[in-house]
């Protein structure tokens, strides 16, 4: 299945992309999405367990993702 991975701010700069299509087996978790990203150049600049959102809501690393889900890796927020 394919999920869309969104990257922002310093993480987008590190990986040189703001959006990636990631291929994963069914029943994969958010943690698997992060693992799939690890082989990419620049991924070493992500923390070991980054903050993640699935479909615009904060999610834990053991959340299961589904075909078409939008997974976002959230850098430390700095609004205000």
């Amino acid at each position: 299945m394919t999920i869309t991975l969104l990257l922002f701010a310093s993480y987008a700069d590190a990986l040189g992309a703001s959006s990636l299509a990631i291929e994963l087996p069914r029943e994969s978790t958010v943690g698997d999405v992060i693992s799939a990203l690890r082989s990419r150049h620049g991924a070493e600049r992500l923390p070991p367990t980054p903050l993640v959102a699935v479909n615009e809501r904060y999610a834990s690393l053991d959340s299961v993702v589904r075909e078409g889900d939008e997974v976002a890796i959230i850098p430390p927020v700095a609004g205000g």
Binding site: F8, P47, Y58, P76, V77, A78, G79
Partner: protein, 148 residues
């Protein structure tokens, strides 16, 4: 009753945000303004650009307003956050709270800005006088716990 949460790219007019929460019942109207400061952590800043995961940021801002209303019984809350390039002194965020009494208005205002800083997916990149730019990490380290 007025509750409003918005992300904007044009300059924020604080008077307009105050008007959103001013009613005949509200004896206290509070406005918090966040602005771009010239010096941050000892470095001279010439401007900031704000970026967001816009759909989620909008959702989180609306959730903060809804939770504030439920938690404090305050019907009049407005949050407006600017995105894009801002110069020093420009307004990055305005939070207005209206309530019959000041104690609650102060409590709500403080709660809203702290929640915003804790969980709304907005990022800022500072521009320094030497021409460099850096994304600001308020935690100083990677966060490992999801906000709840």
């Amino acid at each position: 009753m007025t509750s409003l949460a918005s992300l904007v790219r044009e300059p924020i007019d604080p008077a307009e945000v105050i008007r959103m929460v001013s009613t005949r019942a509200n004896g206290a109207v509070l406005l918090f303004i966040g602005a771009v400061r010239q010096v941050n952590d000892g470095r001279d800043v010439t401007g900031i650009d704000y970026a967001a995961y816009e759909a989620m940021a909008q959702r989180e801002l609306e959730a903060i307003v809804a939770e504030g209303i439920a938690r404090f019984g305050t019907p009049d809350v407005a949050i407006v956050h600017r995105l894009g390039e801002l110069a020093v002194e420009e307004v990055s965020v305005a939070i207005a709270v209206g309530h019959p009494r000041r104690d609650t208005a102060y409590a709500v205002s403080r709660w809203v800005i702290e929640e915003l800083k804790r969980r709304v997916p907005i990022w800022k990149r500072e521009h320094y006088v030497d021409g460099t730019r850096e994304w600001v990490d308020p935690t100083g380290r990677a966060r490992e716990e999801a906000p709840t």
